[in-house]
Every structure is written in structure tokens, then in C-alpha cells.
Amino acid sequence: MSSVVTLPDVTAIRAQFPILSEKVHGRDLVFLDSAASAQKPVAVIDAMSDVMRTQYANIHRGLHWMSERTTEAYEAVRGKVAGFLGAPSREEIIFTRNSTEAINLVAYSFGSLLKLGQAVLVSAMEHHANLVPWQMLRDRSGIDLRIIPITENGDLDYDALEQMLGAGDVALVAVTHMSNVIGGMVDARRVADLAHASGAKVLFDGSQAVVHRKVDVQQIDADFYTFTGHKLYGPTGIGVLWARRELLEAMPPFMGGGDMISTVTFEKSTWAPVPHKFEAGTPAIVETIGLGAAIDWVESIGFDAITAHEKQLVDHAARVLPEVPGLRVIGNPEDRGGVFSFVMKDIHPHDMATLLDRNGVAIRAGHHCAEPLMQHLGLTATARASFAIYTTEAEVDALVSALIRIRDFFV
């Protein structure tokens, strides 16, 4: 079965991102740091301004027009996110600040249900967001934390995972759906099947994955899924936790306060039904509405087009990056999203980043919040170029030629 996918009109798309016409050090901005945070289309910026200009009040419980309309706009985004993730119910969508908070929520709340002797598995390529909360849980509650290795190519080691699950004491497998350093997609369905076969639940950190691929939490049979708005062309300050309803219902609340209660007396409080049980206090109302605009915008382009465009960029980069003498790409995953980490002989990644910036090219250099992976790779830092829907082949070429000039200058 093959189908023709029209590539998106990247020129038209770029015109929707005001920041892409900015200059940096007098040069055109070539923004290859979208995996850290994506730029925002006018649709998102305007959605946020419009709320604050014409239709804003605190939500829930308000009996006046502004409050009712704002509540509707906020709650409508829950439905959008459910659709975006293929979740069976909008009530399984919980709004958090970011992916980090979503994972911490699970570590505190679901974590409090785990018992001494049970184990949580994370992979060797996790972002700190999906490692440190589990270390903190381990230190709080005495559960065991174990590390699933990765292969030479930088893929998850599924055989090792299967073996580790054999121990029979694993309560949760928490892994990234796409590495923010190596760029490889994880076969989520395979992880879920292995985990479920041994009675463990699975959490996927989808912070990178949702930007690059259509995700369907039912298709991959996930139990928990998290992502973060600012990487998906949406606002900062808003993230998402999806979880199966029965899990959410069994879990105690994370934070206490307004809106998450059913009734309160001095002696005792009872909790609101999900999802509200997990949303204490005034939420990021404007940012949630902005996230809704981002999802609408992404879906208007469509994941077929997004993935096709990305594949073209990834193939191109895989061809031209090795033209830089002394450059080594880290990892060679089966299925790469639009992220390349690399190092260069005799040039430190930080020097690369600064000198590229001098040429208008923004990349990231460092440990990418994945220090343990760096130690595993025997590196202190890498340079990372990451692609978005607004990235062009010409920008990849600009990166490559700037790297070649830096190399000539340095060596």
C-alpha cells in the first residue's frame, strides 16, 4: 500500500512564524534548536492575545458570561488533546505545566501506591525529567530503580527489557517515546506488550515524539503518556498527562487546593472526579487555550505531511552532515525523528555552538539533560541540531557549510 503525500508548503509555513524573519548577529536566523523548544506560529500567539483582549475570566464556578465562555474554551481543549492523542475520553486528559510535572505527578501519586520490593524501569537514554523523579521516589519509598540498556545504534534494547521484566517485580516501565539526544523512536507498542505480559504498566515520555509522529495511545496500548506544549509550537507553561481512567481513579491527588475538591471541611476533604482531582488551583488558562490553537494548527498541516517533510530533511542531513571532516553522528537508530547529535574531532561542542551562533545558526550543545546517557556514550557533551516543520534543506546546508568553515579555521 503506497500513497502520495504532498509535502507541506514550507515557505507558507515559515511566513506564519514572525521570529523566523529576525536577524541574529546581523545574519538570518537559522533555528535548529526546536527540540529544546519550538517557535510559535501567529495562530498560537494571536489565540493567547485574543483571550486576554476579549474574553477572559477565571474558570469553573463562575456564573457570569466571561467566566462561562472562558471555561468552555478551556474545557474544549481537553477534547482536542484527547483527539490528538487518540485517547478514549476527554476526562483522562490532565493539564500540567510541562512534561516534567506530568511525570512528577505520576511519580508522586501512582508512586505512592507502589510497594517496597517493586521496581520501576527506565532506559539509559532518558531525559532527566524521566529519571530524577524516579530516583526521588526510590529514595522516598525504597522501590527499586533499574536501567534498561540501549544498543550500539542507540535503540532501546528490547531483549534486555524482556529479560529484566522476567524478574516479575516490575510495576512500571517508564521510557521515552523518542530520544531527545539520539533521535530514535522507541517501538512503544512492543514495550507495552512486553510490560503488560509481565503485569507492569507503561509510561511513555512523548515530549519529543508527539512533535514528529502521529501518536495514538490506544494503538500503542499505553497506560500513561506525557507531552509538553512548548515543543509542539504551543505556549510555555502547559503540558499534558494522559492516563487510563481506572489508574487516575485509583491514584490519590498530587496537589491540594481549589477546584480539585468535592467538599472540604476542616477535618476532611473529598476529591473531585477526574480530571479535576489532579488540577489544583487556577490553571494556565490562556496557555491551555494556546495549546488548543497549536494542536489545531498542527492538525491543519497533518502528520502525513509533517512526517514526509521530516523524512526528507533527515535523509538530507544524513547525507550532508558526514561531508564535514571529522564529524561523527551519534547513534544510528532504526527510525529517526528530526534530531541529530554529533561531535567533531578537536572541536568542543560549546565552541561549535558559539561559532555557529556567530553565523546565525542556533543549535544546542551540552548534555541535553541526559547526563547518564552522555556517560554511557563516554562524552561530556554533544552538539545537537533539531528540525521542525519550518526547517528547510537550505538551513541544513547552512549548518554544514558553517561547520566546514569552523573546522578550517580551527584545524
Binding site: H25, D346, I347, H348, P349, H350, D351, T354, L355, D357, R358, N359, A365, G366, H367, T380, A381, A402, R405, I406, F409, F410, V411
Partner: protein
């Protein structure tokens, strides 16, 4: 290409082939500087005699700026009174906040000044100097 205006050729050459790398014989003072954020690490050894720094050397793992800065430090402080060296360290750190502060420094320390436009990299240049202050913390009293 605007590399030269930021990375003076001395930064490049001294980072590629440092002249004062290693450990001094009969060291009297030492200190280590670490930047966990970027993994830069400097180990500085000194031999002080009669209130003077007779010799300095460094072992540096890190970026070009950090290596070059450590190497130029080792050259600049050799033969200086401890008191002077500490003053140089203060001036060096200060010049990134206040351009004039750099004026009193030897020219080869001023080559780092363009980092003012790349604030996140300033600590790469200052790390060796902070290590120097620590190494001399007791001699200064």
C-alpha cells in the same frame, strides 16, 4: 564567516597546543575548577616562593576558550606577586561586566573580551581564574 572577531587566533592556537599544560615541579599550591553544566575542568598547580608565583601549569579538559584561558593565565601569572595575580583575577572577571576594568590587564588577557556578547561562555574563560583565587586563598591573608 565571523569567527576571527570572536576567537582570536591566539585562542585557537593556545587551545590546540597549550604551552603550559601539565603539573609544576615542587608545587606549593593547587586548585580545581569545575563547571558541571558543560563539563569543563581545570586543575591548576603553582609553585610560589617568597610571595611570588614562580611557575604555573594547568591540566584542562574543556572547550577552546577554557583551555586557552588557562594557558594564558599560566603564562601571565608566572613571575607575578601573589597580590598582583589576585588583582588580575578580579580584573579579569570584572571586565565582562565593565569593559573599562579590562584596560589594566595585559593585552593577551583582553582577547576574551568579545565574549561579552556570548554571556553563557564567559564562565569558560573565568573558570581558570576562579581556580587561581582558590589556589591562592591562604597565601593572600
Amino acid at each position: 564567516m565571523e569567527v576571527e572577531d570572536l576567537y582570536n587566533s591566539m585562542i585557537v592556537s593556545r587551545s590546540r597546543a597549550p604551552e603550559f599544560s601539565g603539573v609544576v615541579a615542587d608545587e606549593t599550591n593547587h586548585a580545581e575548577g569545575n563547571n558541571p553544566l558543560c563539563g569543563d575542568r581545570v586543575r591548576l598547580t603553582l609553585r610560589c616562593e617568597d610571595g611570588l608565583i614562580a611557575e604555573a601549569a594547568h591540566q584542562t579538559r574543556g572547550c577552546a576558550i577554557c583551555i586557552a584561558s588557562a594557558d594564558i593565565l599560566a603564562e601571565a601569572v608566572a613571575g607575578q606577586a601573589v597580590r598582583n595575580a589576585l588583582q588580575m583575577a578580579d580584573q579579569f572577571v570584572l571586565m565582562f561586566e565593565n569593559e573599562d576594568a579590562g584596560g589594566v590587564l595585559p593585552g593577551n588577557l583582553q582577547i576574551f573580551l568579545p565574549l561579552r556578547q556570548h554571556r553563557a561562555r564567559i564562565r569558560c574563560a573565568t573558570l581558570p581564574w576562579i581556580a587561581l583565587k582558590e589556589a591562592l586563598a591562604h597565601d593572600a591573608e
